[in-house]
Symmetry: C2
Subunit: 306 residues, 2 copies
Amino acid sequence: MSILTFGHKNPDTDSVCAAIALADLKKKLGEDIAPAMQGELTPESKFVLEKFGVAAPEVVTSYAGKDVYLVDHSDLAQSPDDLGKANILGIVDHHKLGDVTTSQPLECWIWPVGCTCTVIKSMYNFFNVEIPQDIAGILLCAILSDTVIFKSATCTDKDKAACEDLAKISGVDDVQALGMDMFKVKSAVEGTPIRDLVKRDYKDFDMSGNKVGIGQLEVVDLSILDGVKADLAADIATLKKEGGHHSIFLLLTDIIKEGSEVLIVSDDDSVIEKAFGVKPADGKAWLDGVMSRKKQVVPNLEKAFA
Amino acid sequence: MSILTFGHKNPDTDSVCAAIALADLKKKLGEDIAPAMQGELTPESKFVLEKFGVAAPEVVTSYAGKDVYLVDHSDLAQSPDDLGKANILGIVDHHKLGDVTTSQPLECWIWPVGCTCTVIKSMYNFFNVEIPQDIAGILLCAILSDTVIFKSATCTDKDKAACEDLAKISGVDDVQALGMDMFKVKSAVEGTPIRDLVKRDYKDFDMSGNKVGIGQLEVVDLSILDGVKADLAADIATLKKEGGHHSIFLLLTDIIKEGSEVLIVSDDDSVIEKAFGVKPADGKAWLDGVMSRKKQVVPNLEKAFA
């Protein structure tokens, strides 16, 4: 193939499904293009592709000399290391505008919506190309995943409207049930090493000179984590020693109850009370309504540390 | 107004008309928005707005604390100096992707076409908003300007198709004649100081360690420049002395004959013969078919200097 399209490193369901759908659309518009991905499928993405009978893209990590479309990112840090040697034809995304630049004019479809696949659904409409039933199914799943079944603060009316159309095209009667099935797969912890769970979605921050680590595990029911919670608590304590952190917080987010239990190791755990008005006990606290690290946890902690 | 939309520094007709049209479209989509521009109208833009009875946007140079949409650029160098203190809601453009980044998700419509106004014309269609007759007229003119009446190497089928629709909506029977009227205004040199003509569209380049200046004047007929040609030649010689250049080339481009007469002052004018296969005489040469500085002149000269 002369053109490849791919999402960010550590591909999630949006990155994988957006690449597949954009390749389908562009092929129908006359381009010689195939989807790719920068890493292996997550269990969630695997479930989604199998459910709708769609083949996984090839894993490709080097794009030197290739014509490419980026999906679901515009940051160099999320791009292939040799992106500078590729020719970027376009970007389809739903994030802030990153530091990717080009030396040639290009095609960008970037909208402030909950999911790249919402943008791609509109592109099919714009170009008057019919969405195949299987592609509609994976687009639907990607939107349900990125918007946490419409519960995320990033979800917009455009995402919901796209899902309504996509459910009809793909023949999905119960969108909520599909989303739950998908999140159950995502929630699975069995057989995963504890450190991998801690690091599944983990980031270090500098807060007023203090090194603060914040991880997050999203599950459909906190009871899924009952068997590993003590090990998780022990492991973040180890991680804190290894990394010299002031604090490490691990958010165990229940997407149905819409809140997070936070596991805490800290030199001063009063920051949690300052940040959320909740007094921790036994190294944990329940933060009702708190689901977004980016929009809720980080800003409040930054204020508490200031 | 809480939102402003504006084009690049030294606004051209595309930057001005795209801002006006985007504000019209976004207002109809429910946003509280007005067009602005970073500098005064060129004679060409003034002609276009007067012809279709459209008011000029306000000149605004500071955007701190404002919500903004950029049109016709995504480079910080082309943006207001305090863009970092503005909140970028979106970008509509047709250039390569520049170094503007954002801290929030945004809306980008960037296509590899000849003119930003071609993108905006498609946005009206996408959002099912009727294009007013006067707006259609100025969109049409902007596309004719940026594509040099469809002759530029950057012109695409999308630009031509947009102009066909826009001519119907605006009631313009003779698109070619409108383009010529506009370029006659752009060609006018009377009353303009010689140095302003030299610098109207002028850029310095580093070519293998040599400082090379290249200016361009586009006219509908070279005879327009007969009265000032000797003064232009004398002034680039002065400019060369002032700037310590190896060479200065001033392209006098005839958009009808589709070629350029180049005025030359150089420490070694054989570079012109090396670059274009034409031997200069009396400090000038006719370069048949050469109209684009970016796509034709700079690459050939860079090879000749290498």
